[in-house]
């Protein structure tokens, strides 16, 4: 009986999210609640409660391992739910303008649920359902500004490209099923070693289709074409969610598929990921150079950032798997704060000036010093300048890639990062050096102010004190490295005080052995300053 409860208890946070979505949509019909515009705050608070519940649930693998609740899913849930909370808070001030309320938050919750299912998938079935759930909700969210032509256009573009990719992905899954005889990750991996001869060609075809589907979700070149237009046309709060949580969900599913489904050897998929990584870094950074719109700049920078993460993914084979998973999770976590901050800034600028061109940022530090500081932190973190979070994260990613034998990719990453610095610094120059054309303060509504403060603080704190967040990454790595849990594994300790909202510190099981390279010792001390990533990580893999 206790066994039964333990197996299904981890499902409670997921179900709670469904209940939350329905409740929010229902509460929206009460006029008093609608007028008070508290639903966003309510959803954000509920998301943190869900996070706390998820962090204290035991590990299990119900239904013959269709879903796997382990450290990996838990760590990624932290990324999704924190992003959900921040985006919900920021959306409160948009309610009046876009004329939405309950259904918007309901769709955000359901989309997050889809992402969580991707992170907790034990087979391609759950992965596909999660992917579709999150994407379908995002269509509706992208087109939410019903009277804006650009929003409608963005939704249509996303719909068509995403529907095609979904069909290609399903076709790829069907081929993989035919070749491997199962869609459960552990059975796929077991069958993989016996494949030889002509069936290998079919295997590669299916693999290419499936990886293409994921590349679309994470917006990696050459599957990135939707990203700039959709990011530009969608409401900025939706873009913030799309560019962080949805991307993290794509990586969560991709790593599950590659490391569990394909047995941790990069022999079959290595080339594809390397190509995606190199193309994304080069194309993303080069095209970003000529952008004049802040949202499009962030879109192309997001493509390049996906490339950086793919460097670590490409290095995820053999012994280096743990470090790659840890680096990926850590980067996606900090990227959520940084990039949501970036798009919220774009939102503020659009509100104040009516355009999102970079020149609208001229002399921002004279107009609104706090906003200018937030912009500086965001840009420098994206550019990877110490002591901000982006620097530690990128160092960790490149170290993981280097250790996985992807030296050339790391070199490309380091070189394109230098190019990227140029366009980030160009925006920073507009903010701090150029004179404003208009001296009035930029109006910032309170919800967006709170969300921006959270993002900026998050970026600063993770950069200066990365240790607990790197532990979160280690937890994800352990979750994926341990053998499939067919039976319930109880957590050795169940701290009763573990229900506070900080996601990382409570979450590490005490008995877990950190057998992974501990980058924390090096990155925790930012005094090795502006060392270039490629040379700095020489010192890392001795750890």
């Amino acid at each position: 009986m206790t066994n039964y409860i333990d197996t299904y208890q981890p499902l409670i946070p997921y179900m709670l999210l469904v209940v939350l979505a329905l409740t929010v949509a229902l509460l929206d019909t009460v006029p008093a609640i609608r007028r008070a515009s508290i639903l966003g705050w309510l959803t954000a608070a509920a998301a943190l409660v869900v996070l706390a519940l998820d962090a204290t649930a035991p590990y299990s693998a119900p239904w013959q391992g269709i879903l796997r609740f382990d450290g990996y899913s838990r760590a990624f849930n932290a990324v999704f739910l924190v992003t959900l909370a921040v985006v919900c808070i920021a959306s409160v001030s948009e309610e009046k303008r876009l004329g939405f309320c309950g259904e918007y938050y309901a769709l955000l919750c359901l989309s997050t649920l889809g992402l969580m299912l991707m992170g907790a998938s034990g087979g391609l079935l759950a992965l596909y359902i999660g992917l579709e759930l999150s994407t379908l909700c995002l269509f509706a969210l992208i087109g939410f500004a019903k009277r804006e032509r650009r929003s409608a256009e963005a939704a249509l573009k996303m719909l068509i490209l995403s529907a095609v990719t979904s069909a290609v992905l399903l076709y790829g899954i069907s081929i993989l099923y035919g070749v491997l005889g199962s869609t459960q990750f552990d059975q796929m991996a077991a069958k993989l070693t016996t494949i030889s001869g002509e069936t290998r060609i079919a295997l590669w075809l299916g693999l290419a289709f499936v990886i293409g589907g994921f590349a679309f979700k994470i917006a990696a070149t050459p599957f990135h074409l939707w990203a700039p237009d959709v990011y530009e046309g969608a409401p900025a709060t939706v873009t913030a969610f799309l560019s962080t949580a949805s991307k993290a969900g794509g990586f969560a599913g991709l790593l599950r598929f590659l490391l569990l489904g394909l047995g941790g050897s990069s022999e079959t998929w290595g080339v594809l990921i390397i190509a995606l990584a190199a193309l994304s870094m080069v194309v993303g950074n080069l095209v970003a150079l000529v952008q004049t719109s802040l949202k499009r700049l962030l879109a192309y920078s997001g493509i390049a950032q996906a490339g950086y993460v793919l460097v670590a993914v490409a290095g995820a084979s053999g012994e280096g798997r743990g470090m790659s998973v840890g680096a990926t999770l850590f980067y996606l976590f900090l990227y959520a704060f940084t990039n949501v901050g970036g798009f919220l800034l774009a939102q503020v600028i659009i509100h104040a000036t009516g355009s999102d061109s970079i020149s609208a940022l001229r002399g921002l530090h004279r107009r609104s010093p706090m906003l200018a500081f937030a912009a500086l932190v965001t840009l420098f973190s994206l550019g990877g300048i110490p002591p901000l979070a982006g620097f530690v994260g990128k160092l960790y990613l490149f170290a993981a890639g280097w250790q996985g034998g992807q030296q050339i990719l790391v070199l490309i990453g380091a070189l394109t990062s230098v190019i990227a610095l140029y366009y980030y610094l160009m925006v920073a120059r507009q903010v701090y050096i150029n004179d404003p054309s208009d001296d009035r303060r930029m109006p910032v509504s309170r919800p967006i102010g709170v969300a921006l403060a959270v993002c900026t603080l998050g970026t600063l704190v993770i950069g200066v004190y990365p240790r607990p967040w790197i532990t979160l990454g280690d937890m994800a790595a352990q979750g994926i490295l341990q053998t499939p849990a067919s039976s319930v594994r109880r957590r050795p300790d169940a701290p009763s005080t573990a229900s506070h909202a900080a996601p990382a510190s409570t979450a590490q099981p005490a008995g877990a052995q950190p057998a992974l390279p501990r980058i924390g010792e090096v990155c925790g001390t930012p005094q090795h300053g502006n060392a270039e990533p490629a040379s700095a990580d020489r010192s890392l893999f001795r750890l």
């Binding site: 009277r147 700039p228 237009d229």
Partner: protein, 101 residues
Amino acid sequence: MSLTHYLVVSAMLFAIGAYGVLTRRNAIAVLMGVELMLNAANLNFLAFWRFLQPASMEPQVFVLIGLTVAAADTAVGMAIVLNVYRNFGVIEVERISTMKG
């Protein structure tokens, strides 16, 4: 009828769908092409089930999920196409382009 026959038909269905997606200008026709591609995947699943693993339940579940997703896709898709028509007055894909790229 062997497995190969089914797979060839399914591949043709997929190719026809992809051709429709790439050449049709009307957004609804594009979605119809997508539908063909999804059904090609379903046919694949059923063929593999019938010829390789008749004892397995997985393909049938996948086909049901695939049909459901296709229906949901169409439902949301039609709403979006309707909204595009209200804003632009057309549903020809290349005429709906206010943003570069």
